[in-house]
């Protein structure tokens, strides 16, 4: 907790760190890692095409200000980026591994996947980590950026769970010999396309954005659009990550020229909510386009009738903010804490799988109250 920036180990009555690891065979991990890398490659190509297809941007549920600035980015070009990171949420089902979504814009969980998992691995000889996403990301940043420069790690002040992520990554940047500074959006200034800290004379070497892109237009900070275009300071992740972050991303697949064969195979069917209005009880989930940690995921199975009605009212009033996704049955996991449902997040950094961790929940889906669990690979299996 103190060394690995895990500041929310208890949520209500629930400890959010599992006192046991989950093992995966080497073959299964290799399969998942390979699948995640293919999905990441498809994501990158699809994002680049989407950037050029203005009409499709409207379908993703992006705020209007962002649509406007993305259109401009398509004309003048994006800022340089470094150390691209994605996290795919896998679930084991009777039909094999399925992907529910890609955390493409601001994936977190580095401390759980690396710090917590490595502490757990010390007690289980014959097992090793799936990877070290924080170290991999920091090495990628050190390779791509001016080593003498300073990197700003941007997050929303007050959100403890976000600040702990950037504090953790900053420690790895410092281990690489770089200067790292935690900032809020109001401490960033843009001059001639270069990012500066308020009051600083020297431009930043790079900006790590742990601040959801859809929040930027509302933060009121002049120059926020530089994250999308017109900047020379490298940023991570690139703004176009918000295109695949949208839960409505699958709705535009059939109109893309990019073949998304792995996505089509691994992800359940998705459609606009109004298409399932009369048959929602046939196994659908209603999701907010830019929901986080399950904060806007509704189903007949776990949502009260009143809350479901309210969610449907919102979905019908603002259809571009919602998507319906076919529900799938996740294989239950027997654990020392009882039967759990799970979500296995696999990181891909600069195209290569870089680690994973598991979130468990005794409820029917994995939300912000999930129990973070170390995932260790069985050696020789």
């Amino acid at each position: 907790m103190l060394e690995h920036c895990k500041w929310d180990p208890q949520v209500g009555d629930r400890a959010t760190l599992a006192p046991f690891p989950v093992f995966i065979s080497g073959a299964d991990w290799a399969h998942l890692a390979g699948l995640a890398e293919k999905l990441a490659a498809e994501t990158e190509v699809a994002e680049r095409e989407l950037l050029q297809r203005r009409t499709l941007l409207k379908q993703l549920g992006l705020p209007r200000a962002l649509q406007r600035e993305f259109a401009r980015a398509a004309e003048v070009g994006e800022p340089p980026s470094f150390a691209r990171v994605l996290r795919f949420d896998f679930h084991f089902t009777r039909e094999g591994w399925r992907v529910s979504e890609v955390n493409s814009d601001v994936p977190g969980g580095y401390s759980e996947a690396q710090g917590f998992s490595s502490l757990m691995a010390e007690y289980f000889p014959g097992h090793h980590l799936t990877g070290s996403p924080a170290s991999t990301w920091a090495k990628g940043a050190a390779l791509a950026l001016d080593p003498a420069g300073e990197i700003a790690l941007l997050s929303a002040p007050g959100y403890m769970e976000d600040v702990q992520v950037v504090a953790y990554l900053a420690s790895f940047l410092r281990a690489q010999g770089m200067k790292a500074r935690l900032v809020g959006p109001r401490e960033l200034r843009w001059r001639s396309g270069q990012a500066f800290l308020a009051g600083a004379q020297r431009p930043l070497a790079g900006v790590f954005r742990f601040y959801q892109l859809e929040w930027l237009p509302a933060c009121g900070q002049p120059g926020w659009f530089h994250f999308l275009h017109g900047a020379v300071t490298p940023v991570s992740n690139p703004a176009r990550a918000a295109l695949s972050e949208s839960k409505r991303f699958p709705l535009v697949w059939r109109e893309l020229r990019t073949p998304l064969t792995e996505f089509a195979r691994a992800m359940p069917e998705s459609c606009a909510p109004r298409e399932v209005l009369g048959r929602f009880d046939e196994g659908w989930v209603l999701k907010g386009s830019y929901s986080n940690c399950g904060d806007a995921v509704f189903s007949n199975r776990w949502t009260s009738a009143g809350a479901l009605r309210a969610a449907w009212a919102r979905a019908l009033l603002a259809p571009s903010g919602w998507v319906a996704q076919r529900e799938f049955e996740v294989a239950p996991l027997e654990t020392p804490l009882g039967t759990m449902t799970h979500c296995l997040g696999v990181y891909v950094i600069d195209g290569r799988a870089a680690g994973a961790y598991l979130r468990l929940s005794p409820a029917q889906f994995v939300d912000a109250y999930a129990i973070d669990t170390a995932l260790l690979v069985e050696e020789g299996a």
Partner: protein, 280 residues
């Protein structure tokens, strides 16, 4: 002491409330040779006999390090102080003075460790009542009454008083590190009841009002069967029983709207931001 020793003093392994201790203020301490910067603790506080009665848990909602001092005084009576400070340390010119709280936690760690409290000692949850300190009023508004903790400017307790008083000339900006307390920061009513707690006393100074962010927490405990009382230690321990407001759902809704409005303006819901200099 190193920072782990300090944390272990406040959240010892095996103590039944340790899981709820918020680690953020401990995590930002220096790795080794942790020393308090300026804390002189007054732990000879007057303790109400009702606080130490069997089956009683406390929430100390007091300003800054005052909460730590009263918590430590209670520890002498066998009650386990549980720090729930959520504000972010480490930013220059912070609006909420977390450093004083942090220093008090460090200064009292050894004393707390020496007390060797029972693993199942009843809890006193420590909060900073200035966590949501209101946005400063303009100076021409003047003080509204004579209470010394009512002036919101003073409530911020800046370390450098002179610099603070000349903030207009310096065009000084202060980092808004205010925070709110969530229901999930505490054990549920079911857990409290299962561990023998029957009554909850919210301790405040110069106020018998329940802060907005604590209403849902207290209401949950009340639903679980706990009796709730509020005590004002600024007014000779005047106490009143508390029941949830009849329009609790309206209160929740109102509070959800108010959080982003009262905490530094940010339409994203983020709490942070720099305050502009005061108007003169």
């Amino acid at each position: 002491m190193n920072k782990k020793d300090v944390f272990d003093a406040w959240a010892p392994s095996g103590a039944c409330w340790s899981d709820w201790v918020k680690p953020v203020l401990f995590a930002s301490l220096p790795e080794n040779d942790v020393e308090p910067r300026e804390a002189e603790l007054d732990i000879e506080r007057e303790i109400s006999p009702t606080w130490t009665a069997p089956g009683v848990a406390l929430v100390l909602d007091l300003p800054g390090d005052d909460s730590v001092e009263v918590g430590l005084a209670l520890a002498k009576h066998g009650i386990r102080p549980v720090p729930l400070f959520n504000a972010l340390p480490g930013f220059p010119n912070s609006l909420v003075d977390v450093d004083r709280i942090q220093s008090a936690l460090v200064a009292s760690a050894q004393a707390l460790r020496n007390m060797a409290l029972a693993a199942d000692a009843p809890p006193a949850f420590l909060l900073d009542s200035l966590r949501r300190a209101r946005r400063p009023r303009r100076r021409e508004d003047g003080p509204r009454d004579g209470r010394d903790d009512y002036d919101p400017w003073r409530a911020f307790r800046p370390r450098d008083q002179q610099r603070w008083e000349n903030r207009d000339r310096w065009q000084e900006r202060y980092f808004d590190n205010r925070s709110v307390s969530f229901t999930t920061d505490f054990p549920s009513g079911t857990t409290l009841c299962a561990r023998g707690i029957r009554q909850l006393i919210l301790v405040r100074r110069w106020s018998l009002q329940v802060p907005g962010d604590l209403v849902a927490t207290l209401a949950g405990w009340h639903r679980a069967g706990l009796t709730i009382e509020i005590q004002d230690i600024g007014a000779e321990h005047v106490s009143v029983p508390w029941v949830p407001p009849r329009l609790l759902w309206l209160h929740r809704l109102w509070f959800q709207v108010l959080i982003p409005l009262l905490l530094m303006r940010d339409r994203t819901g983020a709490f942070g931001g720099y305050l502009p200099p005061a108007s003169s």
